[in-house]
Amino acid sequence: MRRFGFALIGLLALASIAAPQNAPAPAAPGSPIGPPKGPPLSGPALDAGTDDVAALLRCPVCQGLSVADSPATMARNMKIQVREKLAAGYDQEQILADFERSYGEFVRLKPPMRGVNWLVWLGPVGGLLAGGAAVAWALKRSSAGAGPAETAVRASAASTASDWPSRETLPDDPRLAAAVRRVRKLAYGWPDGIPPKGLSSAP
């Protein structure tokens, strides 16, 4: 699951390298957006429709502004065209497709759900699911108590205790053995560093 998440992030990143807004726009020469698909708008419906479509168009001469929000002449001109097309009965998608023929997918503030754009739409959801799964897995592991890591630590502590030489044993090297005895005399108060009889071998 986590691998899937990473793979998704990697794919997303690659997609953003590979797709600099030049995905082929579904357009044909002649009358590219076809006959009007909706009813001609007028009055308040036309005003509202113009604002709606303009909010979905990126102003080409601005930095990250929609045509609806921009005071630029270019944005004003685009808004006039949106209004004319809505009045003629073209629907929102037809108008967006028309601007897309000139400016590419760049002009759409909301990337259409097609091709690599699916990654943009599904990536965050997928990442959230993968992250949630990873957190759930980690929580489950730690609440189970003896998780593998903990078991390993305990095992190593146990082996440390049993493998460690007991306090009575001495190294073979006589000079080192003498030094160990001196330390034991200082540390434990044993005369000459020799353990008193009857002391258990437990440290």
Partner: protein, 190 residues
């Protein structure tokens, strides 16, 4: 000295965990770095025009100072160079002389200027002062500019004899570049 060998198990485990964390971190960071490295130098405005290779959008616009409208359809059969410009655009000054010279050299090519977001009186004054070797057209409400996906001026389109856009050039042109791009537009002619 058989004493101190046992705590080895724990560090081995830890280093295995670290490798996994490292791989996971790299899986996130490397693609992001790749995106940065590949795209940092790019101008956010240099979007490749989807019009290149497609039929040039039709228009019929009146020349500056009045006269019969010039339509792209009437120019079929010969290469066309369409230069979007404005008098308030400094790079347009720079390329004006090169374009005028090219229009006089390449007689078989139709040069057209399209005035972008500018006052007609200012345009007329500019052309009187600097001379115009080819018609400049008035583009009310920027219809032609929007149809051609213009982001700013100067932008120049090179169209072949069949009316297909061969190249779009953003920024001021020099004579060499004009000649190269005209050769390409001619190569695409039927």
């Amino acid at each position: 000295m058989p004493a101190v060998s046992t705590p080895g198990a724990a560090p081995a485990r830890a280093s295995r965990l670290n490798t996994r964390v490292l791989v996971a971190g790299l899986a996130v960071v490397v693609p992001l770095l790749a995106v940065l490295v590949l795209n940092l130098g790019r101008d956010p405005h240099s979007v490749r025009s989807p019009l290149v290779g497609r039929p040039a959008p039709a228009f019929s616009l009146a020349p500056v100072g009045g006269g019969a409208p010039v339509g792209l359809d009437s120019l079929r059969g010969r290469p066309v160079v369409i230069n979007f410009w404005a008098t308030w655009c400094v790079p347009c000054f720079e390329e004006h002389a090169a374009l005028a010279a090219a229009a006089r050299t390449f007689r078989e090519v139709q040069f057209l200027g399209v005035v972008y977001e500018d006052d007609e009186a200012a345009t007329q004054a500019f052309l009187r002062e600097r001379g115009g070797a080819y018609p400049s057209l008035v583009d009310p409400e920027g219809k032609a500019a929007i149809a051609y996906g213009v982001f700013g001026v100067p932008e120049t389109f090179f169209i072949d004899g069949s009316g297909r856009i061969i190249d779009k050039y953003v920024g001021p042109l020099d004579r060499g570049t004009i000649a190269t791009l005209i050769a390409r537009a001619k190569g695409g002619a039927p």
